[in-house]
């Protein structure tokens, strides 16, 4: 394996760690804020440098100077994205919030997150995923907020993670133990990802923690990272089917819940949950197109929902917790925030011209290849999320203007944070090719990392035309019973997809044949 010429990965982790200690012993909150900005800014610079250095190396992966740290096609853009999220969140924290929001803890969790993304070894990823649950708990305790819901769910997550890893590492026995290990790990990462019905910790976190902490804990989508590192390389098609089904149900459920929420944080939480679940659905499609779409949507959702969340946080600084039951009429006071709210919100739903558009198209394409109903549900979820975004926009920014005694206009730090994200959302949206090409490389790597057994299982049931059927498609067949399942498959394959068998026989048409051949 190649090695990075400079210890960028180590610096990414070290700088926020040292910064956390440095800020912890700073008494003045304003100075603490400045120092944390410096530390997270430096971490961002190192992360970008790591990414750019890796891109020039033309290799699939490279290790850092210290053993477990590795950068590859999957994690390369995630490092600077995570660092950027932390930097901009710190920057957008107004003076009214510096006493509530702990910059030291934020830097500590940034160090853990960057280390997570810079690791590939399952044991290291698992340990860091577990460690990452601690900072929000400490904040809840310090603020004397209820911790039980969060603690119960994260304890279960950590316990399952540890047990699953132990089973895997001790797996010299029968194959059943390996299956159990995979199932346990899957359950663990799905809890972390907020899959229904074990998602209540997420809404509870948004209820009780500061908005910034909750945002930083969820938007990097560490649960999805856990799935790709811990589960995808070893999961059987049945496990992938379970992940896909659970994620699809979560996406639809969360989209519906977002529409009926009466408070902005809970609305945001459900909106995020819906989008992050779509990423998992795409990851399961097992086609390069679907995987590319999922990885693209992963980045675009992280960008746009961070921007969306930051904009909402900026509004909260002015109005307190935002009720969606009435109109707030803030447009006159903060028109720029309204515009940025709209851009970031539309970016999250894949509006044309934004970062999510092409990713969503690819994800839908991949999902429809796998099973048409999945693709249709993905489209419906995106439509519902679009409704929710505009509903929130209208509630927050329209209505009779409030008479305010102070200037509520957006501050330069807030403006800069959200503008940067908006520029990225629109910029990547207008010029998506480099991002898509990079995600395609990562997707082929992910598909290649799956075991040949899994691919033989996908192939081995003798389906005509060599169509790669996703776990969920096979699962539906099993649910409906073999005969009826065949009829459903035949009808599903019939009119609308009748030409796909023709298409799929063409060499390298959709990539399905590549996977089946193990190319």
């Amino acid at each position: 394996m190649h090695e990075l010429p400079f210890p960028w990965l180590e610096l990414c982790v070290l700088i926020p760690s040292v910064g956390a200690l440095w800020v912890k012993f700073t008494r003045d909150p304003d100075i603490a804020r400045s120092r944390s900005l410096a530390a997270s800014g430096l971490a961002l610079a190192c992360a970008v440098a790591a990414w750019q250095t890796f891109s020039r190396m033309s290799t699939f992966e490279a290790r850092g100077w210290w053993g477990p740290l590795v950068i590859d096609e999957l994690s390369a853009p995630k490092l600077p994205l995570a660092a950027l999220i932390y930097f901009l969140t710190n920057m957008a924290t107004l003076r009214t919030k510096v006493r509530e929001f702990s910059f030291a803890r934020s830097l500590g969790s940034e160090a853990i997150l960057l280390a997570t993304f810079a690791c590939k070894a399952p044991w290291a990823v698992a340990a860091l995923l577990a460690a990452g649950t601690v900072p929000p708990y400490l904040e809840l305790r310090k603020g004397r907020k209820p911790t039980r819901v969060y603690l119960l769910h994260m304890s279960l997550f950590v316990a399952l993670l540890g047990f699953g890893q132990w089973l895997l590492m001790a797996n010299h026995g029968p194959a059943g133990r390996a299956t159990l290990a995979v199932a346990v790990l899957t359950a663990a990462v799905l809890i972390r990802g907020g899959v229904v019905p074990l998602h209540c910790w997420m809404t509870d976190l948004f209820e009780h923690a500061t908005f910034g902490t909750a945002l930083l804990f969820v938007t990097p989508m560490v649960g999805a990272y856990g799935v790709t590192r811990l589960v995808l390389p070893i999961a059987s098609p049945e496990v992938l089917w379970a992940i896909s089904l659970a994620s699809l149900v979560t996406a639809v459920y969360a989209a519906g819940m977002a529409l009926v929420q009466r408070e902005a944080r809970r609305f945001f939480c459900y909106l995020f949950l819906s989008h992050s679940s779509l990423v998992l659905v795409g990851l399961e499609t097992a086609t390069p197109i679907g995987l590319t779409g999922a990885l693209s949507v992963w980045l675009s959702v992280a960008l746009s929902l961070t921007g969306f969340g930051l904009t909402m946080r900026c509004v909260e600084c002015r109005t307190g917790r935002i009720s969606l039951s009435a109109f707030h009429g803030l447009f006159q006071h903060v028109p720029m925030l309204a515009a940025l709210f709209l851009i970031t919100g539309l970016g999250s739903i894949g509006f044309p011209g934004t970062a999510g558009f092409v990713g969503l198209e690819l994800l839908v394409e991949g999902a429809i290849q796998a099973f048409p109903l999945v693709g249709a549900l993905v489209v419906i979820v995106a439509a519902m999320n679009g409704l929710a975004v505009m509903h929130a926009y209208f509630r927050i920014f329209t209505g009779r203007p409030h008479a305010a005694s102070v200037d509520l206009s957006v501050r330069p730090a807030e403006k800069a944070s959200v503008l940067v994200l908006s520029a990225l959302i629109v910029g990547v949206g207008l010029y998506p090719q480099p991002g898509v090409a990079s995600r395609y490389h990562a997707a082929t790597g992910l598909a290649g990392a799956r075991p040949r057994d899994g691919r033989r299982q996908l192939h081995g049931e003798g389906r005509a035309g060599g169509r790669a059927e996703s776990g969920i498609g096979r699962g539906v067949h099993r649910l409906l019973g073999g005969g009826l399942g065949e009829i459903v498959a035949a009808e599903g394959d019939g009119e609308l997809r009748g030409q796909r068998r023709e298409v799929s026989r063409m060499p390298r048409r959709r990539g399905e044949v590549d996977i089946l051949r193990g190319d």
Partner: protein, 461 residues
């Protein structure tokens, strides 16, 4: 300069002008450097004139060279060559798109000139023209789209602009609530369109209209689908068109959309947005020809919408509402014409109707003044139009007017059978979640339950 290069340059100008307008108005607004009213008007006028001139020049060049269809590929926006996945940006200038594009520039130019005066000193002047520029770009892209994905992009931009302009007077709740309804229908329409686009792409391996409809220029062409595929995809496209053009059962949003400023009502619901569904059906007309059932569905939907709108329009008490339903009547007839296999007649019908309705909507605010001028000139009251025809209706048929009183109660039906059950289910889930987290916490777990509907604005320390 060879002809191909000329077409490329002119085509780039046609799309580039609205893009530039959106970029200028958007960036200046985002960077808090708003332009003056005069500057905005001039920018809008200039970009419209450039776009119109370029389109007319393309038309002249096509007539001179005898070309009936000029495809213009702007390149691959996204390509994954290994998977043969390409997202082309392609424009096509043919007998459908060129008239539509010219109509777009002419009417938007006229309306923007009107709006420059009508919206003078309106606080949202800049916001109006920003949304207007989004619409112009969307409409241009949709008219000239050479691939179904490009058409979808324009389609979505038009929908966003429409919703934002319906909510233009956002200090009042009614326009905002109506805008939300409009947006809801548009999202459903977009979902149907996207599904149809992906299904088409998947069935034929192409999103390019030339590939989908065969190489003949519009309206000739033969879709590369089986009748069953055409029925499935066509029904999705019909749902998309119905949502956009306010056909049944989505007609409820059209009169609500009249909450927006008169210039936007004119250009959206008199001229373009309401015809976009019909335009889509014209563009994919080779697909309609493959399935008799699909054609029948189009005809039935069109005629039913026309009949309903005709009845509802007669009992409206405000001019814009009446014009909305009059517009819908014509759109229904146009849709039926398309279903019957006509192609040029609906196109001519769209152009004529768009011009007439735009004029009527622009004159709507001064309707009462116009009537008084006429009465002063005539020297007495004007005869009520249609009074004689009302006496010709037997009693039984007059009850049909009740259908129009609540606009067919379509919105109420949607609320009752779709929205309310949906909301009830998820609110029940929300209650269950609250009970669950309360149980786990051992206490009331939601701070958000204690939030007032409208909180006092806090001052920053």
């Amino acid at each position: 300069m060879n002809v191909d290069l000329l077409f490329t340059v002119l085509g780039a100008c046609v799309v580039g002008a609205p893009t530039l307008l959106l970029a200028v108005l958007g960036l200046t607004a985002l960077l808090a450097r708003p332009l003056s009213e005069r500057a905005i008007s001039r920018w809008t006028a200039s970009c419209v004139i450039v776009g119109l001139a370029a389109t007319v020049a393309i038309l002249a060049a096509m007539l001179k060279t005898g070309a009936r269809s000029v495809p213009l590929t702007l390149g691959d926006w996204v390509a994954i060559p290994q998977e043969h996945f390409h997202f082309h940006l392609k424009l096509v200038f043919d007998r459908l798109s060129v008239p539509f594009a010219i109509l777009t520039f002419v009417l938007t130019g006229a309306v923007s000139a009107f709006a420059g005066r009508y919206m003078h000193r309106e606080p949202g002047y800049g916001r109006f023209f920003l949304s207007f520029s989004v619409f112009l770009l969307g409409m241009t892209v949709a008219s000239l789209a050479g691939t179904i994905e490009t058409l979808f992009m324009g389609w979505e931009l038009v929908g966003l602009a429409s919703a934002l302009l319906v909510a233009f007077f956002h200090e009042r709740a009614a326009p905002v609530l109506n805008a939300q309804r409009v947006w809801s229908v548009y999202r459903l329409s977009d979902a149907a369109f996207l599904l149809a686009a992906v299904a088409l792409h998947h069935a034929t391996g192409a999103g390019d209209f030339a590939g989908l409809m065969g190489t003949g220029p519009w309206p000739q062409g033969h879709a590369a689908l089986s009748p069953g595929q055409a029925l499935g995809v066509g029904l999705l496209l019909l749902v998309a068109a119905a949502g956009k053009s306010a056909l049944l059962p989505f007609s409820g949003w059209l009169p609500r959309a009249m909450e927006g400023p008169t210039p936007s009502s004119a250009v959206f619901y008199g001229a373009f947005s309401v015809h976009l569904g019909a335009f889509l059906l014209l563009r994919v007309s080779p697909i309609l020809e493959l399935s008799l059932w699909l054609c029948a569905a189009v005809v039935v939907l069109g005629l039913a919408s026309a009949a309903f709108a005709s009845v509802a329009g007669r009992i409206q008490t405000d001019i814009k509402g009446a014009l909305a339903f009059a517009s819908l009547t014509q759109v229904g007839i146009i849709t039926a014409e398309i279903g019957l296999g006509l192609r040029y007649i609906p196109l001519i019908h769209i152009i004529g109707h768009a011009c007439l309705r735009t004029l009527q909507l622009l004159r709507a605010p001064s309707l009462l003044r116009d009537y008084r001028m006429l009465e002063n000139a005539v020297g007495g009251h004007l005869n009520a139009a249609g009074a004689a025809s009302r006496e010709w209706f037997p009693d039984g048929l007059r009850r049909l007017y009740r259908v129009g009183f609540d606009r067919g109660q379509l919105d109420e039906a949607i609320d009752r059978f779709v929205v309310r059950p949906f909301g009830d289910i998820f609110r029940w889930c929300d209650r269950m979640e609250r009970n669950w987290t309360d149980f786990l916490s051992g206490a009331a777990s939601r701070e958000s339950d204690r939030i007032a509907a409208v909180a006092a604005v806090e001052e920053e320390v």
